[in-house]
């Protein structure tokens, strides 16, 4: 498997919510750790480390009964104290977790009707912290070895994975070697091992997929069409990465509501999605995607250059003009964000708003809000990670700080309240949606039972490799992309790769 990320952290406490890096971290974390519950593709919550759960009438107290005889990959038995120690640092303020015999209890002063959605996604993995800083998991794999190309093999722990990944010289390829956890409660995964190569450039990933050197690669949006034309298997998720513009309140120029309105009307999201991103993205008009909120279709965006010019004409001539261009800081990492930034500037210029694009250093935190104060406008990306629309929206608002500072986070999951909250945020135009991008995965011809969730969970423990001769495989499975329908051939699942 090849990934673009130059580093991976296997410590959920360190993951930055909403960042593109955390998406990779979460996928690797799912190999090693388990959550209390999971959501299946049919919307049903399935037991994982918790076998049963219940809540009081007010949804303020939830009790989870843990699965018995679950072992960490070092052989230690999971107990309620482990779960409490793992989840307390991850839970949001106001939610307390405590042990009650073999059960764990999560309580809050406010209702938590969407606690299961919250716990079934994001960083809510259960781990055990060892004195040396290593995190042990109960998941289907464990880290057998990490290696940096320059220094050779190193040790075999999540702490080592973290340190290797964060070592200086981030461009050097780092390898992670995961091995099957024979004792995992969910049954031994079919694969014996997973070799992960980090820091692989997108084009190289595609070549390696074509040459059969990799069984799973991340496909950059601009390479998806090429991969498909080359008859490669391509899987896409629901839109998972959101790109938007965020206005700072501090510089007086961008605090002007009329300027924000003119900017909004100037943006041509269709062209961004269909031309710039070659139809591999969707124009975004809401903060949360339709697949998550269910109501995103109610928000529409309008491109109206004439109206934008009219509004611009009512503003002071020196505002966002040649002498004082509006500075757009591209906070999101990657070339795609730079391209989007340049397109925003082109669109704005059509409405006589002059924008100067300021690209940020690669290492900058994508979701940080402590950006250069001179920039009044920021292009940011946000990776959706929660299955609760309320949690996702509140994470977005609090991390990116585009809501009213006096406004308290909402605890209700009522769709109408959530809609009203998002509508208000969009009407204020402190944040302007641009596009939403799915995740694209290229799969080798040998990969079978690739059954990911559309929200980006890969479920690699269920995947196996078909090691029969290609011609035989072809005859029995004519529908090359039909992975769910593909049947095991001569080699049973679990065969050594």
């Amino acid at each position: 498997m090849e990934l673009h990320a130059a580093s991976v952290s296997l410590d959920p406490r360190k993951w930055r919510v909403g960042s593109t890096e955390s998406a990779t971290d979460e996928k690797m974390g799912a190999l090693v750790f388990d959550r209390l519950v999971a959501l299946d593709s049919y919307g049903r919550f399935q037991p994982q480390l918790a076998m049963e759960w219940s809540h009081d009438a007010a949804f303020k107290r939830w009790e989870f009964t843990l699965r018995a005889n679950v072992k960490f990959s070092d052989g230690a038995v999971l107990n309620s104290a482990d779960v409490v120690a793992a989840l307390q640092p991850l839970l949001p303020d106001g939610q307390q977790i405590s042990a009650s015999g073999d059960n764990v209890v999560i309580q809050s002063a406010s209702a938590m009707p969407d606690l299961l959605e919250e716990l079934a996604s994001g960083r809510f993995f259960v781990y055990r912290l060892l004195p040396d800083g290593t995190l042990m998991g109960t998941g289907p794999f464990f880290v057998a070895e990490t290696a940096n190309r320059s220094s050779g093999p190193s040790s075999s722990s999540t702490a080592a994975a973290d340190s290797a990944a964060s070592a200086p010289g981030g461009n050097k390829t780092t390898h992670l070697h995961f091995r099957a956890n024979e004792e995992t409660w969910s049954g031994r995964p079919f694969l014996d091992a997973i070799e992960v190569t980090l820091g692989v450039p997108p084009l190289r990933q595609l070549f390696d997929l074509q040459l059969g050197k990799a069984d799973l690669v991340e496909l950059a949006p601009e390479l998806v069409r090429r991969a498909m034309q080359d008859n490669q298997r391509v899987w896409s998720s629901a839109p998972l990465t959101f790109y938007g513009l965020r206005f700072d309140d501090t510089p007086p120029a961008v605090a002007d509501a009329k300027l924000r309105e003119a900017m909004s009307l100037s943006l041509d999201r269709q062209t961004m999605a269909n031309v710039l991103l070659q139809k591999q993205a969707e124009p975004a008009s809401a903060l949360l995607p339709q697949w998550l909120s269910g109501y995103a279709f109610l928000f529409t965006t309008e491109t109206n250059i004439d109206r934008a010019k009219e509004i611009r004409a009512t503003l002071p001539a020196n505002l966002a003009a040649a002498t004082a261009r509006l500075r757009l800081g591209v906070d999101a990492p990657g070339d795609l964000a730079k391209l989007l930034g340049e397109r925003v500037a082109v669109n704005a210029r059509q409405a006589a708003i002059l924008v100067q694009v300021v690209n940020r250093p690669v290492t900058h935190d994508a979701t940080s809000t402590s950006s250069d104060p001179a920039n009044g406008l920021h292009l940011f990306s946000w990776h959706y990670s929660s299955l609760s629309p309320r949690v996702e929206l509140e994470s977005m608002v609090s991390t990116l700080k585009f809501g009213e500072s006096t406004e308290t986070a909402m605890s209700s999951t009522d769709l109408e309240e959530l809609y009203a909250r998002e509508k208000k945020l969009l009407e204020e135009r402190h944040v302007l949606p641009l596009v939403a991008l799915p995740e694209y995965i290229g799969l080798g011809q040998k990969v079978r039972d690739w059954m990911p969730a559309r929200w980006g969970e890969w479920r690699l423990a269920d995947v196996w490799l078909d090691l029969t001769e290609p011609s035989l495989a072809h005859a029995d499975n004519p529908n090359g992309t039909a992975t769910p329908a593909a049947q095991p051939l001569a080699v049973p699942p679990g065969a050594k790769p």
């Binding site: 919550f45 037991p47 008859n231 062209t271």
Partner: protein, 439 residues
């Protein structure tokens, strides 16, 4: 009244479990006044409504809509299912919605165009029922949520679909088309079999097909090894095509038909502005070389086409094409209004050259049925797929035939006729192919 809402339900099995959510207030049980009071309460308090059945959700939304006096949304509504629930379930919900409105003395009529829209949408764990007014932009005026895990598999659209095939006719002589028609009582009446040399007429008599007439076919100037043909029958009038030849006739008592040589549209008329033809000496379609219009078509040719999406309002459609180069493509018509050009995308699949689209009553969209990438020495297959330019998802099991499929065409939107050569018996066999929702 309903049982007051149980706080929690605990499951102790390995089977799916979910803590039961707080249930909705009771639905109408014949007491108009309490319902009106409830509706008033809903309007005044922003409490979250979670229903205990999808029909309850629809009733709860009806109460919300009825209570919203401030909004002027006329006397009609539209209903749209955008979630993974079956059409039948959606219709039951709609009936419950209307029924509840009737009880509340709010009469709304289903219409194709209305300011008030009721939409069923979904998130990862919930089905949402949303009431929206769209006269000035879009505005949500009410919603009800329902946990996905609590509705049964039969209510899901995502249930397994089955591809059925039923043997209609077999004969030792080659055939590449068959058409049947029924009499007004629904009984089989006439059958026409298009063979390599003859067109044959059969009539249903004493529970079997009896031969009645046969007529030789005109020959193309350019004979070809892989001959193709297609026949359509409406009552007793028929039309059939052979490469470069079109014939029209009548099978009222005996066969009579007239033929003319022509290039032009055969059946691949998915783009009304761009004619395709299957010309003499060719077994694949291509854009008519005599066409002089502004539209362009980048594929060299294709064997068959299956329309899988169509939106008449915006003239948008998506057609899956079995290309003459052996690859499969999706043709997207584009949208002039939104400045989206038409395009052809290649699909990463290995299918055969026969494609059709079929509808099934538990799915709203047309599904593509494709033959397998086999040669004529092996048993062919058909499978149904949900085709999107980004992803192809198999939605049916694979149906195997006793030999290669020589022809596949629609008899109606929900039925196709497949002609296969049986490798074991050496007979040519015609099958009726339909899609069904598995229980």
């Amino acid at each position: 009244m309903h049982n007051p809402f149980p706080a929690a339900v605990i499951s102790s099995t390995r089977n799916p479990v979910y803590a039961k959510q707080k249930l909705s207030p009771s639905h109408y049980r014949g007491l108009a006044l309490p319902s009106v009071l409830l509706a008033f309460l809903f309007a005044c308090s922003p409490i979250e409504i979670r229903a205990d059945s999808l029909e309850d959700a629809a009733r709860a939304l009806a109460r919300k809509v009825a209570s919203d006096r401030k909004k002027d949304f006329g006397l009609s509504y539209t209903w749209e299912n955008r979630a993974s629930i079956s059409s039948a379930t959606s219709e039951r919900m709609r009936e419950a919605f209307e029924e509840e409105l009737e009880h509340l003395h709010s009469h709304l009529v289903l219409a194709s165009d209305a300011d008030l829209s009721i939409l069923i949408t979904e998130g990862p764990s919930h089905i949402n029922l949303i009431a929206e007014i769209s006269n000035q932009g879009h505005e949500l005026i009410g919603s009800v949520t329902f946990p996905k895990g609590q509705f049964t598999a039969a209510e899901r659209t995502a249930m397994a679909l089955r591809l059925d095939h039923q043997l209609l006719w077999q004969q030792p002589e080659m055939m590449f088309g068959l058409a049947r028609s029924n009499d007004p009582t629904g009984k089989p009446d006439v059958m026409l079999v298009l063979g390599r040399e003859n067109l044959s007429l059969y009539r249903w008599n004493r529970e079997k097909w009896l031969p009645e007439d046969s007529a030789p076919l005109p020959h193309s100037k350019l004979p070809q090894r892989a001959l193709r043909g297609e026949i359509h029958l409406q009552d007793h009038f028929f039309q059939f095509h052979l490469p470069g030849i079109e014939c029209d006739g009548d099978a009222w008592q005996k066969l009579s038909f007239e033929c003319e040589e022509r290039t032009g549209i055969w059946r691949a008329d998915f783009d009304p502005l761009l004619p395709f033809s299957l010309d003499p000496g060719r077994s694949f379609f291509a854009a008519d070389p005599h066409y002089l219009g502004p539209k362009k078509f980048s594929l060299a040719g294709f064997f068959s086409a299956a329309l899988s999406q169509y939106s008449q309002g915006d003239s948008q459609y998506q057609t899956t094409l079995a290309g003459a180069d052996g690859h499969t493509y999706v043709y997207l018509s584009g949208n002039e209004k939104e400045n989206i050009p038409e395009s052809v995308e290649r699909l990463p699949v290995e299918w055969g050259s026969d494609l059709i689209s079929l509808s099934v009553n538990c799915r709203e969209e047309l599904l593509v049925v494709a033959s397998g990438a086999h040669d004529d020495t092996s048993r062919d297959t058909l499978q149904g797929f949900d085709v999107d330019p980004r992803a192809v998802t198999p939605v049916t099991t694979i149906t195997e035939f006793p030999g290669p499929i020589l022809s596949l065409r629609n008899a109606s939107e929900s039925e196709a006729i497949a002609i296969a050569f049986n490798l074991t018996t050496g007979n040519y066999e015609a099958y009726r192919v339909t899609m069904a929702c598995s229980e």
